[in-house]
């Protein structure tokens, strides 16, 4: 196991199971793109190609596929599927976007969650998909067009001081902040994920995360929902960010219903205690559901 993860021994129950799970490679999953196909048709096409594709127990539109190359199949060519890690489908599920609403995806590239949100909205209403990184934005555009998304507007700005002016949008119904992070939870698919890890990076990135989440809360209507997610275990990037935003903005963390086994957010780390409501956030460890590591919290604005 990577030595960085030793710092989580005090907060992860069954640490040995955690450490063992992190070492195992991650199985391939694909999300069925319901804008262009349905689960039955995708499974039939995979079966025709001799590839096993079984729905996961907790998300019928997420198929576990027995191939290393789902991209070189007819369902992929037709834009019926998107290769997406299981935990990456959780933030849109927590966000629960509805057809016709206006949604902000603040850190959207390369677009897995943007396109999932668009599909959940039946490609109706508006997804404003933003990313600061122009290179990653081209991947988002490619994915959105391949998957047949027509309700997205793509912008290339700094989410921290995002302006709604040119969009014909006064405020968003919901917003997703799937924040840039240290990526500790992605070790199973990318063993080099922590090669450049440092405590200094945690401090820098948590500042960005806090600013983007604050902007998302300001830009979302009263009573609207904002989901904050990362693919890291570091409390500096998770509960500490929520704690700061609870102090600064008119919002609260609410209970969320996620379809997999999770652990509550932690209220103490490294001598600092956080607002008790951070317990309503969800920590997802690899050994709980055989996935990558993840963190999700749902906030309600102005309530």
């Amino acid at each position: 196991m990577h030595e960085v993860l030793e710092r989580y021994r005090p907060i992860v129950d069954e640490f040995d199971a955690f450490a063992a799970a992190v070492e195992r490679p991650l199985g391939k999953t694909v999300r069925v793109n319901t804008i262009k196909a349905d689960v039955e048709r995708v499974r039939a096409a995979f079966e025709d190609a001799g590839i096993a594709a079984e729905p996961t127990a907790w998300n019928p539109e997420l198929l576990a596929v027995e191939t290393d190359g789902p991209g070189s199949t007819w369902p992929a060519f037709h834009g019926w599927i998107h290769s997406q890690e299981a935990v990456s489908t959780l933030p849109p599920i927590a966000l629960d976007p509805q057809p016709g609403e206006t949604i902000w995806d603040a850190c959207a590239a390369p677009g897995s969650k943007t396109t999932q949100i668009a599909a959940m909205m039946d490609d109706e209403g508006r997804v404003v998909a933003n990313d600061r990184n122009m290179g990653r934005l081209s991947a988002l555009r490619f994915n959105a067009e391949r998957l047949g998304v027509t309700n997205a507007i793509v912008t290339n700005r700094d989410a921290r001081n995002y302006s709604l002016d040119p969009l014909a949008v006064d405020e968003f119904d919901r917003a997703l902040v799937d924040a840039p992070c240290s990526g500790e939870g992605t070790l199973r698919k990318n063993p080099a994920a922590l090669d450049s890890w440092s405590e200094g990076f945690l401090a820098d990135v948590s500042g960005v995360q806090t600013d983007v989440l604050q902007r998302a809360i300001q830009a979302t209507k009263s009573g609207g929902r904002v989901v904050y997610s990362t693919c890291t275990y570091a409390p500096e990037e998770n509960e500490a960010v929520l704690d700061r935003v609870l102090d600064a903005e008119d919002c609260r963390i609410v209970d969320q219903e996620l379809p997999i086994e999770t652990r509550p957010g932690i209220t103490e780390w490294d001598g600092t205690s956080f607002d008790p409501s951070v317990e309503r956030a969800a920590r997802i460890y690899p050994h709980l559901n055989d996935t990558g590591g993840f963190f999700v919290a749902t906030l309600e604005v102005g309530a």
Partner: protein, 181 residues
């Protein structure tokens, strides 16, 4: 109004198509009505398909389709998806647009056998003598099973856009979308 009286297209900005040819203000830019008529005349795709979509031009003849409205998308990178290129004699639909809307087509669809579909997806041109319909841009399709099981019926699945001339079907699948299947 003749084209001589119209303003020139500004290539880096998204501009909404005028509803009809008579209401156009930019030289060479097609109207929404013309775009809807083209999809219907070429492929039999009903205009109602796009009743909740708006059409935009950015770049010379590059049209985009967006679900719903947008007030002033001048400073954005993309709105919806690219749909059609119009500043040439024959309008050319995009692979992404026909994969999204092409299942509604009733004409100018060429159904390919498996080996032909694989060559098409790889971006290869091929001789196909049996086609006796129109030349020009066609929607290429093949059959995939609709349900699991050995005796399941097939259903048309849209591959992309082919250019048919002189007995040859040229694949226009963009490099990034080509696959060796």
């Amino acid at each position: 109004m003749s084209d001589d009286d119209l303003a020139e297209n500004v290539s880096h900005r998204f501009d909404r198509l005028a509803p009809t040819d008579a209401e156009r203000t930019v030289e060479g830019r097609p109207s929404r009505a013309a775009v809807l008529a083209w999809w219907e005349e070429r492929f039999g795709i009903p205009p109602a398909t796009f009743e909740n979509h708006t059409f935009w031009e950015k770049g010379n003849g590059k049209l985009w389709v967006l679900a719903g409205e947008a007030a002033d998308p001048s400073e954005v990178e993309a709105i919806g998806a690219t749909v059609l290129r119009t500043r040439q004699e024959h309008w050319k639909p995009t692979t992404d647009a026909v994969q999204r809307f092409g299942h509604l087509a009733t004409q100018n669809v060429i159904d390919l056998e498996l080996a032909e579909a694989e060559r098409f997806a790889a971006g290869e041109d091929q001789e196909i003598e049996r086609w006796d319909g129109d030349w020009g841009y066609l929607i290429a399709a093949h059959e995939l099973p609709r349900e699991e099981g050995d005796d399941a019926d097939g259903e048309r699945a849209i591959l992309g856009v082919g250019l048919y001339v002189h007995g040859e079907l040229r694949s226009t699948v963009p490099k990034g979308r080509r696959r060796d299947l």
